[in-house]
């Protein structure tokens, strides 16, 4: 199919051809990705994986005794070599880790296999005098803390090995320098910290925060997915159940007999539909409003923009709860709906699923449009003026100009923004939870038992209900499984889009 033939086709045919190419390349892309795996592995092995072992072996054979000392005591050579600050840092970590490992790490790690055997008589130590639980935990095993501490310990152990290797490699290169006559001293370390190694100074603390409060929780979440911890109370014993949760979700029926798989796919479908509609409605409406405001002859531009910014200024949760109250059974809007006859009186509008979904989408545009309006007007302002002038000379009508200049330009610039908005909407918790709280619940004959999601629930709100809301239907492990699935869905979409939109690739040319 030469370029010429392609251009001679009519528009619909061209679209078909494009689609065909898209899927074929996509398939081919996956195919040669797999084919290149053995090559990549080999390259990975002799470039990155084997390098550490080579340096260790060299350090052992070629280094002097102090360097060999580093194998046992971190930073020994550095201290001997007058790089005291660096040496002490390494040594400090070793001491702290070993103390932590022996005192708490090891006991918990041993119990990791069985996740605790000693069941508890009562949850809390009862204060003999007042007979009220005084808030301290009774002895005995608590699988939750066992799992948590063992994950933390494993993480610190990995870091221990990495630092062990770094301290040896560092010692070796320092030793080589002395052989060649280049001496370095303590002052150099601090001077570097502010100059060539400035990034370590800047990133150290944020990264620690990131690891502790994001990475470890995520690892924990993924591992919980393989246990049967339903999160009812925190001091319980639960055990590994392997992939049962996943298989249950995809094939089985919940103990209440309801068809879990059906519910899961319904909610997944609604989540994707919701994300698609929400993103595009906000995007186009926002752009249209921006176009209207920025049109040449329109006066009081600042006024219109400030009105819309008002909705962003007021905290989102205040406006959402307000609207939720207005949609209450005898709320103001429900009253209007009743007058219009859409809803039978005295019934909350969220009982009928389709109406609930429409309301949510409308409210979402009400919240989202000002935000996209700002972005679009920002971009509209720096579309080069000469594009329009040349189009006007060619005699293009204002609609034609919009379609052939404004739209493609906007789409190109906001490509990655659209994707991040799409991902954001999949996880858009506030709108659903605060407005419809997932109503109406599924009309099921049998009891579901997993957080009882409603028809307007997204995956994210279903996870919240299952993990956080109290009540017997709580199942934290299943919530984690769903969490992992949400991640996979988002990762899948991002890979497709990110691969195609150049914005991320040519990040360097933007700057």
């Amino acid at each position: 199919m030469t370029k010429l033939q392609y251009l001679s086709l009519t528009k619909p045919e061209r679209v078909l051809v494009d689609l065909g190419n898209f899927f074929r390349n996509f398939g081919k892309g996956i195919l040669n990705w797999f084919k290149s795996i053995p090559l990549k592995l080999l390259k990975f092995w002799n470039h990155t994986l084997s390098v550490p072992f080579k340096t260790l072996e060299k350090a052992m054979t070629k280094g002097n005794w102090w360097v060999r000392g580093n194998f046992l005591v971190f930073g020994l050579y550095q201290i001997f070599h007058k790089e005291i600050a660096r040496g002490i840092l390494y040594l400090l970590y070793e001491v702290v880790f070993i103390w932590f490992f022996i005192r708490t790490g090891l006991p918990y790690l041993q119990k990791l296999g069985t996740l605790g055997t000693l069941s508890l008589t009562s949850h809390y130590m009862v204060d003999p005098s007042s007979g009220v639980a005084d808030g301290t935990f009774a002895t005995g095993d608590n699988s939750f803390t066992i799992l948590l501490y063992s994950i933390v310990t494993i993480f610190l152990a990995l870091l221990f090995v990495v630092l062990w290797y770094f301290s040896i490699r560092d010692a070796k290169s320092l030793y080589d320098n002395t052989l060649v006559g280049k001496m370095s001293n303590n002052k150099q370390f601090f001077k570097d910290l502010v100059d060539s190694k400035y990034h370590t100074l800047l990133l150290a603390v944020p990264l620690v925060g990131l690891v502790a409060f994001t990475i470890i929780p995520i690892i924990f979440m993924v591992t919980i997915g393989f246990t049967n911890y339903n999160g009812a109370e925190r001091i319980t014993l639960f055990d590994w159940v392997g992939f049962d949760n996943y298989s249950l979700l995809f094939s089985g029926f919940s103990n209440g007999g309801a068809n879990v798989v059906g519910i899961f796919f319904k909610i997944l479908a609604w989540t994707l539909l919701w994300a698609l509609i929400a993103t595009f409605t906000n995007y186009f409406l926002g752009m249209v409003v921006a176009l209207l405001i920025n049109k040449k002859g329109i006066k009081l531009k600042k006024l219109w923009r400030t009105v819309l910014i008002f909705t962003i200024a007021v905290p989102q949760f205040v406006s959402l709860m307000l609207i939720n109250r207005m949609l209450d059974v005898n709320g103001f809007l429900t009253d209007l709906f009743v007058k219009f006859g859409w809803v039978p009186a005295k019934v909350s509008p969220f009982q009928n699923a389709t109406l609930a979904r429409v309301i949510i989408i409308v409210i979402n545009t009400w919240v989202g449009v000002p935000y996209t309006m700002l972005i679009s007007s920002g971009i509209l302002m720096n579309i080069p003026e000469d594009l329009y002038e040349s189009a006007r000379i060619d005699g293009a009508s204002s609609f034609k100009m919009y379609r052939s200049i404004t739209l493609p330009y906007m789409l190109f610039i906001t490509g990655p923004y659209l994707l991040s908005q799409f991902v954001g909407n999949i996880n858009n918790f506030n709108i659903i939870y605060l407005l419809s709280h997932g109503e109406p619940s599924f009309s099921l004959d049998k009891k579901l038992g997993y957080g009882d999601p409603g028809e307007t629930d997204l995956l994210i709100t279903w996870i919240y209900k299952m993990s956080m809301e109290s009540g017997s239907t709580k199942n934290y492990a299943m919530a984690c499984v769903l969490g992992v699935l949400v991640f996979l869905v988002i990762a899948f979409f991002s890979l497709i889009f990110y691969g195609r939109t150049g914005a991320v690739k040519n990040e360097e040319d933007f700057s």
Partner: protein, 851 residues
Amino acid sequence: MASLKLEHIYKVYPNGHKAVSDFNMDIKDGEFIVFVGPSGCGKSTTLRMIAGLEDISSGELYIGDTLVNDMQPKDRDIAMVFQNYALYPHMTVYENMAFGLTLRKVPRTEIHEKVMWAADVLGLTDYLDRKPKAMSGGQRQRVSLGRAILRNPKVMLLDEPLSNLDAKLRGQMRSMISKLHQQLKTTFIYVTHDQVEAMTLGTRVVVMKLGRVQQIDTPQNLYDHPINKFVAGFIGTPQMNFFNVTLQEEKDGVYVKWSDCEQAPLKLSKQQLLKAEKKYLQGKLPIVLGFRCEAISAEEEELSKGDNIVDVTISHFEELGNETLIYGDLKEIEGLGGESTTSVIIKAPNKLGHVPGDVIKARVNVEKIHLFDAESEMTIIPPVPDHNVLPVTIENEKMDLFGVSTKPESIPVDFLKNGTVSLPLDALKVGEGEVDAKVILVEEHREARIALVKAADKELFVEVGEKVKAGDKIKFAVDYSRATFRDENDKLVASPLAERDNLFAQFVNLKTAFAVTENESFNKIRDDRVNEVNARYEKLEADLAAEKEAKLAEAAALQEQKAPQVIEKQAELKTKENEANLKLKELKAKYSRDVKEAKAKHKQIYKDEMAKINEQYKKMKEDEKRDYKQSMMNNRDRESRRQRRLAYSIFRESFPQMKANDIERKTNSLEFDKETELNGLKAHFSQNKNFLKAEIKGEQDKFKEEYYPLESASKLYANKEKELAKKKEDDLLHAQLIFFFKYETKYQLIPDAITNRIIQGLGNKVFTKTFRVEVPHNGFKEDKDGLEFKVVSFVNYGDVKMYKCTGELFGEKVVVYINQERDIQLGEKVKLIPDLEKTQIYENELNIRLY
């Protein structure tokens, strides 16, 4: 002010791409060097390596006589002007220029002085308080120049500073920069891709292409004697005309035959092509003829000379005012097409009355032409040819060269009918040897002094000393080991001996060398050096101690003598201090009064100005309204009424905007005046304050100096001792850094100078690399624990005798040629060691030259 030395500078990126390879240059103090070349030729990379913004892969960079390879940019005492000026947008011009000095903690008064000096050199005095964005391109460039001057650097680096300016401004800035160069006498290094800047500014110009230096010479030499087609094409506007030709040598001269055009051949004098190799003159090899547009002319008195005329069909003109460029084509041989070059540019005072389409005659001035070998693109008439090609015949042991002589039997050729021999210039040593010749003429060149001599019936070029003049008789010797013999159809018959033999070695430190060989002498070397260093420092420490002793005693005595007056002097100092504090308080009060007063004044001015503007605009509005009403009343014609109404509505619509602009402009200028005045007050106040403070401090120091000399003296000496101890420790460490070259089993000590060079190039990766040591034939010495070689044969090159020896190194056979004074029997075992001073040392893998 400093000289700059770059030796074997390489820039190799991790992926192996050589951005700059083997850059060698000696820049003397005060020179204006220009790096020029197409984009991507490595000129900016070299500049950034000098500045320290990119690290040097290998090679050595000296600024002044200090090695700066590993130094931070800020310690190299250089200044740089960037292409996009790199001014700090949020600082005023004053702060921009003073930023470097404030970072260096230079006292404020000195900064102020220096900035004022730089400002008036660059004519920026009244912009000092402006922000860069409020200034034009030219002014901004001058600010960045000012910032650079203030560092009074040893070397001033400019990275394409003018490429963002418009043409007229570029001319002005060029003259400003060269004026600056004369004034400051600093060494300038200027990078540009515009060859006009290169020719006008540079004392010497470096033309670069794909990371390699093509030619380094003065602009005029580059223009007149380009060494290859690239330099010829790059230098000079409009571009040089190039044509494919072949050269045919006839009796009365050399004829240039056009390959692509149907034109009469040009006639050159033999004298011109004396330095060209004969092979080019057989009309076989493709040659590129090049001449500039002023070397061809279509004017009457040139045409009247009659020879070397070509006819040109004119395609268009380019009139530049003082001269006109005639663009045309020589008549083309039909059917060639493709790569044929027929377009020509002719410079003429005016159109000479011609019209596009005419066919005119033009004469090529053959003195100003250039000839390049089409394939290697190098010039075939280099100012200093590197070898002579002479005809030769060899029969039964006789050779007719320089008068028939016996053929040295080392030349493996027995029979050669009218072949050629090529003798490199440095293979002919004047002053010794038995061939005698008469000097015809001598030419003076920058690299060497060469003479055309006639020996027997052959003419050739040799390098001669200062005293030789035309007509002298000289003798010279021929080193046949460097000769190349070819038969009549240019097939190689005997190639010369390689200049250097290669040995491969590893770099090893003392400890490993000793561990393997247990050779006590190695340790002895180290111990001697350590003892030598200790001895030296003992003496130094002793002198310092003695000096300290004397100085302290003297200070103590002085202190006793002054003791009585101390109390009285102290009181005196106290009164001075109080007096100064009083003055300071008074100064502060006056300053705050002035500021309040200035602010009030400006507020008042601002109020009046605003009132005036409002007044003015109110009146304007009323006049317009009255005039509109009037014209509406007494004007009945519908069209003009409608026009008037339209004009009125436009006025009403644009009126507020006009007023707003006017107000804004007015407030800006008022604001600016206020700001300058306040700044002036602040600078004045801080100046006086510092002055007062400096005064008091001066008094206190003087007091302490005079009355407590012991304390300051002892502090001084304590520092001195500490410094000496540190220096001793450093020297001791360096003394122990002894390294060896390991040739498989034998070890050779490497002299310090070479060790530094190698370590400088490769840092601590030195132990993992293999090195190629290229040893010249006379570079070998006999040494008892040298490498073992067996003498295989004796090679006699006329007056140079060589012994061919073979040996074993890393399992491979190594052939080495040595010329030794004492004669050696064949088959004898001899122990040799290379004299490292004479060798060239390469890092084998990336072929980077270290020494």
